[in-house]
């Protein structure tokens, strides 16, 4: 019951947030220099007066402001994200075509960064002040300061250009004719560098959080009790400290998942990964605002879905949460 109510309230909140983003998009279109129809047509539409006229009618630019807003938001709510004149396709089709690649990339990067971050954080906290700790926290500090796209470029330079170990470009080998397992292996090889470089920054974030949280929980009374009982330190760390220390890390991971989607724009640009981030980059150069706003909306929706999932995971890890709500 409590879970059903919680899910319902989360979904309601998600719907309101999406509505607010749709309204924000509308104001952004109007904030752009020039009239909205020209803006949405982009460079491609500038030469065609008929297209502009169609757009004006579609947005009801002769209508009062609030009717324009209602129309725009109505369109978005019925999943009509407009038409990309540049690509000659509806924006929704463009995004759907490329969404799987982005999901594969961001989810892989998320799991790599979370698992590696937590493992390194636990390792550092177990040897606090020693060489291992200094090494791990130092590396995290460095990754934390490294721009995503630069890490990606340097990875291409070293592992792809110099060593030739991994492909540094694209989603799979073009024209290879691979099928089944061979194809999956091929995609996996293409996935390693983008996922690792996208996850690097977030790994540093999760590592720092895990380390701090482990050290904080280790001070609590129940840990002293466990020690007094004579339990082995490794068991205390795994069963007692880690389980409690993970809670703030999960919260943070849910919040940061959204930033992963943003970071994908940079990673996909460097690796020519055919996802929605790369689509956004291509649309920037073409000033295809309809597509840019569409990708923006969909990435916000992805964040909301991530957050709902985190919320549910949180309830599984800590049943006390459900009781309070």
């Amino acid at each position: 019951m409590a879970i059903a109510v919680a899910i319902f309230s989360r979904l309601l909140k998600a719907a309101i947030t999406l509505l607010a983003i749709a309204i924000l998009n509308f104001f952004l279109v109007h904030a752009a220099p020039g009239d909205p129809a020209t803006v949405l047509a982009g460079e491609a539409g500038a030469a065609d007066p008929q297209m502009i006229a169609d757009l004006k009618a579609r947005f009801g630019l002769d209508q009062p402001f609030y009717i324009q807003l209602a129309r725009y938001v109505g369109n978005i709510m019925t999943l009509d994200l407009g038409y990309s004149f540049r690509q000659g396709q509806p924006v929704l089709d463009l995004i759907m075509e490329r969404l799987p690649a982005t999901l594969i990339l961001t989810l892989t990067a998320f799991w790599i960064s979370l698992l590696a971050g937590v493992a390194l954080g636990v390792a550092a906290s177990a040897r606090v002040g020693k060489f291992t700790d200094t090494l791990i926290t130092g590396a995290a500090l460095l990754f934390y300061a490294t721009p995503l796209y630069w890490a990606a470029l340097m990875a291409v330079l070293v592992f792809s250009v110099q060593l030739g170990w991994l492909p540094g470009f694209g989603y799979e080998t073009v024209g290879s004719g691979y099928g089944g397992l061979a194809r999956a292996w091929d995609i996996l090889k293409h996935l390693i560098l983008p996922a690792l470089t996208l996850g690097l920054f977030f790994m540093a974030v999760y590592m720092r959080m895990t380390r701090a949280s482990m050290l904080e929980v280790a001070q609590q009374d129940f840990v002293k009790t466990a020690k007094a009982k004579g339990l082995a330190p490794s068991i205390i760390r795994r069963r007692h400290i880690l389980r409690n220390a993970l809670l703030p890390v999960v919260t943070l991971a849910g919040l940061q998942a959204g930033q992963l989607v943003g970071g994908a724009v940079l990673t996909e640009t460097v690796f020519a990964w055919p996802g929605i981030g790369r689509l956004m980059f291509e649309s920037l150069a073409a000033r295809d605002y309809n597509t840019i706003l569409g990708v923006f909306l969909v990435s916000a929706a992805m964040v909301i879905v991530f957050n709902i999932i985190t919320d549910l995971v949180y309830r599984l890890i800590d049943p006390r949460i459900g009781q309070k709500a």
Binding site: A145, L157, V161, L266, I292, V303
Partner: protein, 279 residues
């Protein structure tokens, strides 16, 4: 005194401070060091670093001095980082202070608003804002400020809430001071240290954001920046590694320096603040 002693004994913070001062000096002296500016074509293109006298870091795809670009790029990074952080503070501090001080519906409304901005993916919103407002130094700074204020508001709200519960605030109320006076004169000064720590980390994040936007081609077209240098060299990475390597190293060093300073400030100002710093 004690604050400085604690800060100076922190080796990391001192190292960060030294780097930041060096970057600051280079940025200020740029017009003296390279009077021809960062766009001048000084030699033939693609000169390898350390191969030609006077051009230690080589030349780029158009024969421009890479070092001159780096030095001028420092100006943009520091300026955008600083101004956008000040702007984010100007949004976040009053909002968080009012929410924390008045509570009830003011708090509810302010926090819903903040939550909304925290849900939107930061970088994607910054891209959309700069793309729509047309890339310029102003639009980049505004966009970065708009995406970075929410953690400030949350931090200030929490701090103000805890300070407002202290007894001296009750005393000030009894003395008949106005709400505004209490908030601005009595409460806010006691929340300054965590705000300073957060601000120094925000400058670092802002520099990363600015460079990422410039890398995507959303930088001010008239201004040389580190992100632009890397973005322009992206397609020639296989033949000219140094064009991407040096500007990136400059970003890493500067951001690292600011993060170290932030941690040093945090430890020096208040040893147990580190736990509150997270958003």
């Amino acid at each position: 005194m004690t604050f400085w002693k604690r800060f100076i004994t922190n080796r990391g913070a001192l190292f960060g401070l030294a780097i930041l001062i060096a970057v600051l000096l280079l940025a200020l002296l740029a017009p003296l060091l390279f009077p021809r500016g960062p766009w001048a074509m000084v030699q033939r293109p693609f000169l390898v670093p350390f191969s030609t006298d006077g051009l230690p870091l080589g030349t780029d795809t158009l024969g421009r001095d890479v070092l001159a670009g780096l030095v001028y790029g420092a100006r943009v990074s520091l300026l955008v980082g600083l101004v956008s952080t000040v702007m984010a503070l100007l949004i976040g501090v009053p909002l968080g202070a009012l929410a924390g001080f008045y509570g009830k519906w003011v708090d509810e409304a302010a926090m819903r608003f903040t939550e909304f901005f925290q849900t939107i993916p930061n970088f994607a919103l910054a891209i959309v804002l700069v793309a729509i407002l047309e890339p310029s130094l102003t639009s980049i700074t505004i966009a970065i400020a708009i995406v970075s204020w929410p953690p400030v508001a949350r931090l200030v709200r929490a701090e103000v809430m805890s300070v407002t519960r202290r007894e001296y605030v009750d005393a000030a109320r009894l003395a008949g001071l106005s709400n505004m006076h209490i908030l601005v004169r009595q409460v806010l000064p006691n929340t300054v240290s965590p705000i300073i720590v957060m601000a120094s980390l925000m400058v670092a994040t802002a520099i990363l954001l600015e460079s990422s936007l410039s890398f995507l081609g959303l930088g001010d077209p008239n201004i040389m920046s580190w992100g632009f240098q890397i973005g322009a060299a992206r397609t020639v990475i296989r033949s000219a590694w140094w064009l991407s390597f040096f500007p990136g190293a400059a970003i890493v060093l500067t951001v690292l320096a600011l993060n170290l300073i932030g941690e040093g400030l945090n430890d020096a100002l208040n040893p147990h603040l580190s736990r509150k710093g997270r958003s």
